[in-house]
Structure formats: structure tokens, C-alpha cells
Amino acid sequence: MREPNAIDFWRGFALVTIFINHIPGNLFERYTFSQYGISDAAELFVFLAGWSIGLATRGRDGTPEPRLTTVLRLLSRTIEVYRAQITIMALALAMIAGCALYLDNPLILEWHNAGGFFADPIQTMVGVVLLTHQLGFFNILPLYVVLIAIAPAVVLIGRVSRTLLLALSLALYGASLVFEWNFPSWPGEGDWFFDPLCWQLLLVLGFLANEASRESERLRRLWRRLMPLGVVIVIVGVVLAVLEWRPDPMLAPEPRLVFTFDKTYLSPARLIHFCGMVLAFQGVYALIAPHVGRLARFLSGLGRNSLAVFSMGSLLSLAGQFVRFQTGGGIFVDISVVGSGLIALGFTAWFVEWRSRRPRPTRKAPDAAAPADTPSSSRSA
């Protein structure tokens, strides 16, 4: 188990923010940072995923691991993320259907794009497995599956030349913005909520930031000197968000995605704002960690187990939405829903670690009774 650190801390922070933002209308939503800027927790999550890939594909001493190991490691991670997405989609659809039946309320079947599944199950089932049918709020993991799937290429190209990697990534991003390339939805029309062709840039930036800062003290110093610039960008973001000022997409000149604040295509304004956030807050963890040991341990725990926590968070926020809907919300409900959700997320993180470090009972000889059925044979994921 890793000690609390800045990366896990911010990852946990992003997870908590996503959890709260995915219970729309709740009291705490307005206290999340997403309401006070152009970019939000999704950017943070993807950037840190890129950063972690850099860490995961090197040994403890910092030497890059063999190429084949990297490819296999990331392939195995891709399968894990895909499995998580399929599992939470199945559970979410069942929760929606079950809740609609239990409350005798067909309105719930139309919950954020679930209507397609219940109206056209034959096509939509295929779409679920292909990741081309996404429910609202369940659209981050499909992006993540694609990003981790292409991560071996990112790492291997990055080992040859970082400049080449950055150039390729920027070229793909730019072309996707200009030509509006995206992955299609099916059977519903339209495109993915998070365009992997654009969002790959954040993963690459995260990866490169880790790689470059590991080696270059000069670069780290430069970033620290740029902190005031980051603060200015953050302040501009707050002002724009509070005044709700943003370009009108019908009036924006072509290529319009370059000028609008578009989340799907990670438009440049969001990217710049996010980079400003990174510059502004780069030193904050070191500053506050000694004073908020408990919080740092809690958030780092979430961050260390991000996939499990994210998956549970998605389902818990869905359940939270139903509770708010049925009870009518209100301050007491919101505190209970968000509070119990955070406790459950903390438990999830603890439980995943408990499962993986629990000492396995020594296997008995094959002639002992039914060794295959012992609980210990279930591997931790």
C-alpha cells in the first residue's frame, strides 16, 4: 500500500467531486470546484491517469520496464476497466428498471438515455457491449477503456521520442477539433459524450508531465515560476463561470469547436483552464498535507483504488438520485445521501485493499476436501 501522496490525493479529490456532481440538484453540488471554472473533475481524472501510467510502467528505481510487460500490463488494465464498465452498466440498468417497477413509475425508465435500452433492447444491448450506447453519467469509463487501450502506443512512442508523441497527439487533437471527428453512438444517433480522439491529449500530457518532471529539475522550477500565471487563469475561469459568460456556438467562427467551451471535444478553453489549474495548485498538496493528515489519508485511499471507487461511486450516485427523487430532496436528505455515499466510498477503498493484502490460508494437499471451493480461491481483482 502506497503512502498518501499528491497524485492519489488529487485523484481521490476528483472522485469525490464526480460523485457529488453526479447527484444533480443536491445541496453540495454548488460547493464543488466544477461550478467555478471552465474545466472540471473529468479533466483532472484523465490527466492523473496519464501521470499514473508513467509511474506504473517503470520500476521502483525509475528504469522503464520491458516493452512486452508494459503492453501486457496495460492490456490487462484495459480488460479490467472494460469489465467494470459492463458490470456497472448492467447494474445501473437493473437499478433503473427495478426502481421503476418498485415505485410503479415509468418516468424513471426515461432516465438519462436509458429509454433507448428499454424501448429497443435488441439493438441497444449490442450497443452497450460495444460501448456505443452510454447512459448519462456512465460515459467516463468508455473513454477510459479507449485511452488505456491506446496507452501502450503512448508509452512506447514516448520512450522513442517525447516530442514525436506530443506532436502526434496534438495533431490528432487538432484534426478532431477542426473536422469534428468523434466515435459514433449506436443505436442512438450522435457521438460519444467524451471524444477519445480529443481527450487522448490530456492522457498524453499527464504522461509527459510525469516523465519530463522526473528528470528535469529545471522544468520543475519553471513550472513553479509559472504558478502566478495559473492563478490568473483560475481567476478568469471563476469570473467566466460565475457570470455564465461563454461563446454562442452558433456565432462562433469556423472551426467552431476551437472557440466554444465544449466538453465533448475538450475545446482549447477547457484545456488551457485545466493547465492553469495544474500550475496554480501544483504545490498545494505539500502545503496542506501535514495539517490534514486524515483527509489526505482518506482521499489518497480513494485515489489508490480509483477504478473500484469510481464504479461504486457511479452506482451510489444513481441510487442517491433515486432517493432524492422519491423523498423530494431537501437538506437532510442531501446530507444523508452524500454523507453515506462518502462513507461507502471509503469502505470500498478499504475493502479492496483488505481483499488484496489478506493472508491466504495455505492450501491443503489435493486430497483434502474440495480445495477449489474455498473462498480463498477467489482472486482479488
Binding site: P24, E110, G116, P187, P249, R256, T264
Partner: protein, 270 residues
């Protein structure tokens, strides 16, 4: 809920709109509020295809042959003979009160339709957002669409027996109506229509009561109802006729009186 008594003097009970298929038949006053559709009219005059952007949670796309957008396209093409109608469908995740309006703007900019048909309110109702915030955000979005010379038709949320007495929910439906009235845009009363249908004994069950499913019928009726509101709105007097100022905002009370009779003859010509 404006439960308007029929203004028609000939019959004490308002007749069902005969242009609809039997299982979707609802009196006009329960079905729509009409208003002018300038952009679609212009497209008709120029004899070019009408581009429709259908937005909402039932908007599964064309991959599914039986889906609502396909039904809407078919119903519109049937009602408007010799006119090519192209329906693009998008789902709109998120709440109007918090950010979905932004996403709507991107979609409209991308598709550049003549007409937006927006099933609105479900997600916001499920999130129990503040109704005032919802109304303001919806009004903003409708204004924005209109300001770019694009027509918009709203469809209010679905009726369900379990929420028949839910004050918040009926308030939500009313807010959609208020916005439609204030902005003078046509409205399909999905709520009232389904409530009416729920009292009729039809062989096929609408998606009501226990063991419901989001079935073909409910979506087909919604497509028919939306089509009806659109075709009748196209028959509204020209904008140039200043005397018809009162016509600019059709309320539930006035619309059905003239709507079904004259509309049926044109719309059914096939």
C-alpha cells in the same frame, strides 16, 4: 393543468381528434398548444427538405427501426405529402437547470435544423431541481433557439399514475407550459394526452400501471401527437397579418376550436 371545457358549441363533450390512429386519439385541447413555425414554413416555401432535430430521452436513433425518431419522421412525411423530412435524434443527458442547455446549443449548432422538437423536463424532474431555476434555464434555451431563426416545439413530460398527485411534478409540467406560452412556441401536451388515454379502455395498454413497459404504442402516439401539433401550427396565420396579434400566443382554450377541423382536412390528404 388547464382542463379546458370544450369551446365547441356543437357537442358537449369534445370530440376526439379523428386524424390520429384510434389508440392515440385525444381531444385537441388535451393535445397541443399551437403557435407559428416560421422557419419550417420558409423551408416549405422554398421546397427544400425540412431538417428536424429531435431531442429527448426516448430519442434512440435510427439504428433501431421502430424507434421514436423514425416514427416521428414517418408521421411527419405522411402529414406533409411531397415534403422530405429528415429527423436527426440526440439524447440530451443532464438537467436543463444545470448545463444541459449548453449542450443543446452545441447540438443545434452542429445540426443546424429548421425545427427542434424537444421532450423536456424528465431529467430535471428526476433530479428534483429547483423549478424556478428550471423554468428560467428552459426559457433561456428556447429564446436562444428562436433567436437564431430556428423553430422549436416543446413536449412536456410523461404522465404516470404514481405521480398524479405529486405537486412538484405537476408544477414541472405547468412550468413547461408557461414557458411555451411565454415564448409563443407550440407545445405537445404529452402529460395531458397520456392522462386522457389512461382513462380510455383500449386493448393495448399504454405505459401505465404495473408491468408497464416503454412500449411501441406510447412512443408512436407521442410521434403522432407531435406531428399533429406541428402540422396544425403550420396552418397558423402568417406573421405579416398584424390583426392576428392575438393569434401569436395560442392558448389551450382557443387552439383546439379551430385546429382539428381545418387541420384534419389538410393533414390527412395523402
Amino acid at each position: 393543468m388547464p382542463a379546458a371545457p370544450s369551446p365547441s358549441p356543437s357537442s358537449p363533450v369534445e370530440a376526439l381528434d379523428q386524424s390520429l390512429s384510434p389508440e392515440c386519439r385525444v381531444p385537441g385541447s388535451k393535445l397541443y398548444t399551437l403557435a407559428r413555425l416560421k422557419a419550417v414554413k420558409a423551408a416549405l416555401k422554398e421546397k427544400r427538405p425540412i431538417h428536424v432535430l429531435s431531442i429527448g430521452s426516448s430519442s434512440a436513433g435510427l439504428g433501431a427501426s421502430a424507434s421514436y425518431p423514425v416514427k416521428l419522421e414517418n408521421a411527419l412525411e405522411q402529414a406533409l405529402p411531397d415534403v422530405q423530412v429528415e429527423v436527426e435524434a440526440r439524447s440530451l443527458p443532464g438537467e436543463v437547470a444545470s448545463g444541459a442547455g449548453e449542450r443543446l446549443r452545441s447540438m443545434v449548432a452542429e445540426v443546424e435544423p429548421d425545427l427542434v422538437v424537444w421532450q423536456v423536463g424528465t431529467n430535471d424532474a428526476l433530479a428534483r431541481v429547483d423549478i424556478e431555476a428550471f423554468g428560467e434555464a428552459l426559457d433561456d434555451s428556447v429564446q436562444w433557439v428562436k433567436s437564431h431563426g430556428i423553430d422549436i416545439v416543446l413536449i412536456d413530460p410523461v404522465f404516470t399514475q404514481s405521480l398524479a398527485d405529486d405537486a412538484y411534478y405537476t408544477q414541472m409540467v405547468r412550468t413547461v407550459q408557461d414557458v411555451a406560452r411565454r415564448e409563443a412556441v407550440p407545445l405537445v401536451h404529452r402529460y395531458a394526452a397520456m392522462r386522457f388515454l389512461s382513462t380510455q379502455r383500449t386493448t393495448e395498454a399504454h405505459m401505465l400501471g404495473r408491468h408497464f413497459r416503454l412500449n411501441d404504442l406510447g412512443l408512436r402516439c407521442m410521434a403522432e401527437h407531435a406531428t399533429r401539433a406541428i402540422t396544425l401550427s403550420l396552418l397558423q396565420p402568417e406573421a405579416g397579418r398584424e390583426t392576428g396579434k392575438a393569434d401569436a400566443v395560442k392558448t389551450d382554450l382557443s387552439a383546439p376550436a379551430k385546429g382539428p377541423s381545418e387541420g384534419a382536412s389538410t393533414a390527412d390528404r395523402k
